[in-house]
Symmetry: C2
Subunit: 284 residues, 2 copies
């Protein structure tokens, strides 16, 4: 990947341009939902890599290659900024993507880390995420940059994503798996828990039940949308008014046309996603 490949030769996009958002699959829609709420005037182009999902148990090299293809694809829409709505990509590929791009780009890990640091009282923060995100120690790095006194306990929860995707959001099996994953974090007496994978907000009530009322749950999507708004303001890229009717405010692209995407998306976003276009992402 040379620097010029992610850059574009044209003038940089202005405030009317859409925001590009991507994820390994559908989880990033929990971030889209938050962006829709907090900055409702923006246009969004979403890409979910449903042909190669999941990323969370793959290597850094592969995740970087896939992410660079997706950024090239999103830039064909002249997006004004890119939101990496995936913790695994934010953990593994953020530095590589930032290095080669000339528009603002934001991930979910830094905002999530910041929110957790503000929330903890006893200085003990838990992080649940994919194997990749936990293995990268990225939350530990960002949290300790903000406050080196804080102790961070990471726990990979590889079965949560398939359980969420199978719709077992409130189910005794998910309860049991959550108990196995979370018990050691309870024993360590954390007071703040980062939901470090964009799928996990969908089983928030299960996590809450198992971890107890005394622990603050941090969903990085909220803080990501807030920081995205600030970023757009700082670059004079925030849209002042809603797009005109019929201007296709939200567009969804996926790499595999499984009908499941639309069903799943509609259960996350109230907007009503009627269709998603398929794209061969390997060609980018």
């Amino acid at each position: 990947m040379t620097e010029t490949e992610l850059k574009q030769n044209n003038e940089l996009p202005g405030k009317d341009a859409p925001i590009g958002v991507f994820d390994s699959g559908v989880g990033g829609l929990t971030v889209v939902r938050e962006i829709m709420r907090q900055i409702p005037n923006e246009k969004i182009v979403y890409f979910g890599d449903t042909a190669r999902v999941p990323y969370g148990n793959k290597s850094q090299e592969t995740v970087i290659r896939f992410s660079e293809q997706i950024v090239r694809f999103l830039r064909t829409f002249q997006v004004k900024t890119i939101v990496v709505a995936c913790n695994t990509v934010s953990a593994y590929a953020m530095e590589a993507l930032e290095r080669d791009i000339d528009i603002p780009i934001i991930g979910v890990v830094k905002p999530g880390a910041r929110e957790a640091v503000l929330a903890t009282r006893n200085g003990r923060i838990g992080v649940i995420a994919t194997e990749a995100t936990i293995g990268s120690q990225i939350y530990t790095k960002y949290i300790n940059e903000l406050n080196p006194q804080i102790s961070i306990y990471g726990k990979a929860c590889p079965l949560f994503v398939p359980l969420v995707e199978e719709g077992l959001w409130e189910d005794p099996v998910t309860d049991e798996i959550a108990r196995r994953y979370l018990t050691e974090l309870i024993d360590i007496d954390i007071d703040t828990l980062i939901l470090g994978c964009t799928h996990y907000p969908l089983i928030r009530s299960t996590v809450r039940k198992v971890i107890g009322e005394g622990v603050t749950l941090v969903n990085p999507a909220y803080e990501t949308a807030r920081q995205l708004r600030e970023l757009l303001l700082a670059h004079d890229l925030l849209r002042g008014e809603p797009p005109r009717l019929g201007s296709n405010q939200y567009q969804f692209y996926i790499s595999d046309k499984a009908d499941k995407f639309v069903r799943f998306a509609n259960s996350i976003i109230k907007y009503g996603i009627l269709s998603a276009k398929t794209v061969n992402i390997e060609a980018y």
Copy 2:
């Protein structure tokens, strides 16, 4: 894909050439294990698409595109035959692959169907597999070609693959999920059950416990290796003697270098896989 793309211009490989075997990931190693047992003189080149696993919840179009890339990759080794050690690929892509290839190719579905037809006494066969394989109705098609009187009951078991990959081979959670998936097959009074995904033989004991002693479990891997031997004999391609020492009898390639592959592989195959080479399969 034109016909010439999967074909090669050179002379066809002879009996000393390796067998190419592939799967979406690690499950196909249960087929490799069976080939090693039944025709131990053969050389094998295995490819597992660990960068894009799983295939079982993806679309036919995507599965065909991925499979064609893999066949092109395997043909660079001058393989004499190809074993599609994945039910999803056998269900979705077999016709496309067969159409464009000039060496023998064999999947796992036809052999599995044949073995089940020979096993059933009451003419009621169950199939458990991925969503893709069940949706394709491919087992129904092949079984009814052999015997149109037989009734086939398919059940997609999407959580089995992640449970196997997380090592929960004997676990109360896997028991509970198995009960949910299998209860309706028990109620229907099947006497034969096809393990229609190459991961499932690894949780055979759980399936046995839930389904009871009265049901014959069919592992297509056994019959696939048997038919592969016949196929090689028929084409005069069966190796008569073992390869000389140090000739690299078994080679393993994957598309993502997750260490997990080697650990998982060694738990399936006694051979002792020390390493696997990584290849960028999208370039094929």
